[in-house]
Amino acid sequence: VGLFDEARKRPLPRYPAAVAVVTSPTGAAVRDIFATLRRRFPCVEVLFLAVPVQGAQAAPAIARALDALSARGGADVAIVGRGGGSIEDLWAFNEETVARAIHRCAIPVISAVGHEKDVTIADLVADRRAATPTMAAEIAVPDRSDVRHRIDALERGMGARMRTRLERGGARVGELLRSYALGRVRGRIEHSMQALDYAALRLHQGLRARARDRSAGLDALTARLGALDPRGIMRRGFAVCVDPRTGRVLRGAGEAVAARDVYLSFHDGAVAAVVGRRIAEETR
């Protein structure tokens, strides 16, 4: 009852760490499966359970292997099947014992029995049916060149987001620095601004170079990104003045006087401060 229910079929893992293979140690099926796993995703671990796949012993042996596998754990998906043969040869895969063992297996099962035209009870109960053992292995693991493309795309996405973020963040640091009445150290600010612009320029060059030449490592890019961290600028002697009640950055002497109790945020921590009177222009 419910053995063939489509709704209970489980999704297969995208990137299995271990694949169990339950089939005969002789014949083409096991070799096709191993060769396909090796070609597509050799970082997967294979747990091989050798069973007879025809004759009176086959059905109970396959069922026992699946149960033992469920009890042991350690595999993410199982392939159960055999290569082509006559209807009689494939008969074990029509037995109720096997169907029930597939149904109660703790991990998703891919069946691969015979050729395309052969459909057994096991195929109907399994979470996925593969037309051949080779195709079962193709279903079980992704192809590593596809996976590499996926990683490339994720890294590109990350780089693009980071660039946008730095442009925004960089602009905000510049704004902050400009808004402070720091006339006496204007030279130092300008020096910092130039360093920031220069780092941003190098970042863009770095990203363009990476787009042209993907073999250029991300390490160098990461190091350049570090140069844009606002903490670097603060470390050179700048602090940000914040109104602790609103969390807002204070952008002028007038605001600081009005707030009176402020926090001064340095690169390594913040201090509470009380703002005194505004001092005359020429002594700043």
């Binding site: 747990l47 091989f48 033992a68 994720l154 996405g157 990350m158 987001r161 990461t222 570090g226």
Partner: protein, 79 residues
Amino acid sequence: VSDPIQDLSFEEAMKRLERIVADLEAGNYSLAESLSRFEEGVALGRRCRELLASADLRIRTLVETPDGTLAEGEAFDEE
């Protein structure tokens, strides 16, 4: 989330990398936090590539013991 990147399985590393890209896209981080997530993402990408490039398929043969559990068997000869 505190597992060292070198110990992550391929699936775990991929999931974390995908999560970081999504988080950066959502843009809820401070600049400094974005940078540290970015650096983590770079390390995760490197870990995934390393695993993909890893050596040959490991095949472990499991055999049934009399009590019905599985034990490590002799290496399977593919020849």
